[in-house]
Symmetry: C2
Subunit: 388 residues, 2 copies
């Protein structure tokens, strides 16, 4: 029974391509894990092997991303969307413990994901403060407005300021968040689509979270990195008095952390895939090496697209361009289908843009190799020459 495959050139936005050697190991482990006679999806999450998977994954992540002892790492199910719900309730509880009040969470909106996060907080009964909405400021998503246009919230009233470090749909990524504008406010970042793609200074963050299914695994696990000082909450009774919604128990951060991410049955096999991806990244040389590769990949593609300014259009302002999701359109929109068809003919797949943006999107996550991007760049080049 063969577990071989031709190396894919898949540029999907997530779930996304994973290293073939990782999947081959995972496939074997699905049948028989560590010689136990049963697979990694069958072992108990309370067994030594099951607990080992969680612990190794945490250790590897701490090591790779230099996560300081001030921060805790844990896993939840439900994806980033569940984070949109659990972040306001959990972080407002921590804020209430310190301040005695509910406060108003602040949101920086630079694309559809941060917008959704803000809307969910409001739906749950939080009165959010919008720091900036790039769509209102610029008429469309595609830039990060200058900080002098932002409305900075008052720290005493603000449990946290939330932003999305990389907007997958719109291809907008922060080069660096203006931390210094928010003294005394906890900073929360959704890094779902640039998770582990670059070094991060965690001392700046109250919370960083990301779904696994872009850079580090398959769908079904979300990784959270939280400042330990944010884990002390008032009682449920007190929270109710302050009109702070009670978090469902499986998403109550202190509860989950107290049970090493296994308050309820953890998806062990999906965590094991993350473990293997991280192990692979350590062997490859670590986060700086990966970042250099990511820079090379995106530079190559952006510079190729820029060679044909009358043919291709790059809707994102240069300073806000994502290293992970390269969004581009063909000025003659009628050529989109032809582009995708010809690309697919040479086995370059997953390039169709998000339905809300149109055109093309090439996601260059960690597992997408430089040779793959070279093939895509060559195709981009050839297609422009043939059709311009």
């Amino acid at each position: 029974m063969s577990l071989d495959r031709e190396e894919p050139n898949y540029f999907g936005a997530g779930p996304a391509q994973l290293p073939t050697n990782v999947l081959q190991q995972a496939a074997k482990d699905l049948i028989n894990f560590q010689g136990l006679g049963i697979g990694a999806g069958e072992i108990s999450h309370r067994s030594a092997a099951g607990v080992g998977i969680v612990n190794h994954t945490k250790e590897y992540l701490r090591k790779l991303w230099q996560i300081p002892v001030t921060h805790e790492v844990f896993f939840l199910q439900g994806g980033g969307t569940t984070g949109f719900s659990s972040i306001p309730t959990n972080l407002s509880a921590a804020f209430a413990k310190k301040s005695g009040k509910k406060g108003r969470p602040a949101y920086v909106i630079t694309g559809s994901w941060s917008k959704k996060a803000c809307e969910e907080a409001e739906r749950l009964g939080f009165d959010s403060q919008v720091v900036v909405n790039a769509k209102t400021a610029d008429g469309k998503f595609g830039d990060i407005p200058d900080v002098d246009k932002w409305t900075i919230p008052v720290a005493e009233d603000t449990p946290y300021v939330y932003y999305c470090d990389n907007e997958t749909v719109h291809g907008v990524e922060f080069q660096e968040f203006p931390y210094e504008k928010f003294p005394g406010v906890e900073i929360v970042a959704d890094m779902s689509s640039n998770f582990l793609s670059k070094p991060v200074d965690f001392s700046k963050y109250g919370l960083v979270f990301g779904g696994a299914q872009k850079n580090v695994g398959i769908a079904g696990v979300t990784i959270y990195i939280i400042k330990k000082s944010l884990l002390d909450y008032p009682s449920v009774k007190e929270l109710r008095k302050l009109d702070i919604p009670i978090t469902p128990i499986a998403f109550d951060y202190p509860t989950v952390i107290s049970k090493d991410s296994a308050y309820n049955t953890i998806p062990t096999f999906a965590v094991h895939i993350i473990e293997l991806v991280l192990e692979n990244l350590i062997k490859k040389g670590g986060i700086e090496i990966q970042q250099q590769e990511n820079v090379k990949k995106s530079d190559l593609l952006y510079s190729t697209l820029e060679k044909y300014p009358t043919f291709y259009h790059l809707p994102v302002t240069k300073r806000a361009r994502s290293r992970m999701n390269v969004v581009f359109t063909i000025k003659d929109g009628s050529l989109d289908a032809e582009f995708l068809k010809e690309a697919s003919d040479v086995k370059l797949t997953g390039l169709k843009g998000h339905r809300s943006v149109g055109g093309m999107r090439a996601s260059l996550y960690n597992a997408v190799t430089l040779p793959s991007v070279q093939l895509l760049a060559d195709f981009v080049d050839k297609f422009a020459k043939a059709h311009q």
Copy 2:
């Protein structure tokens, strides 16, 4: 690269053994799914292949379990524990739409899982009605008290009555729930640990749910089967007025159903494993065949244990004994470790009882074969003869 394994005899309570042929197919599909060149964990949940996995799984389940058109099937992440939170908020919303009030959910408590479900509803701010608590009635869990000892709630006040059809920890299973005692009340059953183990008359139920990781898959997916008439809710504003907590958006049943279980990224690979398990069960002959096998397996083990009444103890009353989780202890408790060691020596594993009950527990889920149970029964026999 070999994907073979010796057939396991694993009796763990969940995650649990799965059919080897299912795992072998899943392993191949993890690398390359349907010749697409990428695996089932890498494809987009919005692609034809990804949507196909969800649709086939729903179709197979409908077919196998004869789910009527009055009911909808959908998938969530988070396991049964997330159901403990999402059921009171969702079903109370449906109840409020019809009655204009919040009501008080009713709970039948026959073991630790139904107890946890009731506690979570209370934690979220619901004033629950306890129909019966077997522990209070009998001093311990291990029986289902006679229905004449139950306090039957008033239908006009009761959004639903909740029970756990099979208590995994205590090995207590309903032969048949007394539906007729609750006219006009929606009945909700947690079937996590006897999911698809027997036919079910869904016309009796408002909602049936179960985590995949016992009978039908790996951890990370929970399956819900809900009556369509329970999907109409008042506005968030009206819910707030009635003091009904707002459900996090990824667990709002009408929202999830409106997006075919993919409101947010669904764990496609974990759903695919369910798809393969169901396909396998269809090939095997369906639910009645599986039920007959399950009856044979549990009869064999219980009758073997009963042959040694001075040596083994069966803590669960005969009428409430689970077909899925056979709980037993050795009267001389000092022999437990020896039993587990000798069993492990002959490759019978996963037999340790839950920490809260002690002794042994043999989980005889669908994938555990009759020959495996025969081996276990022979061992039970031999061990008693050697040590009594």
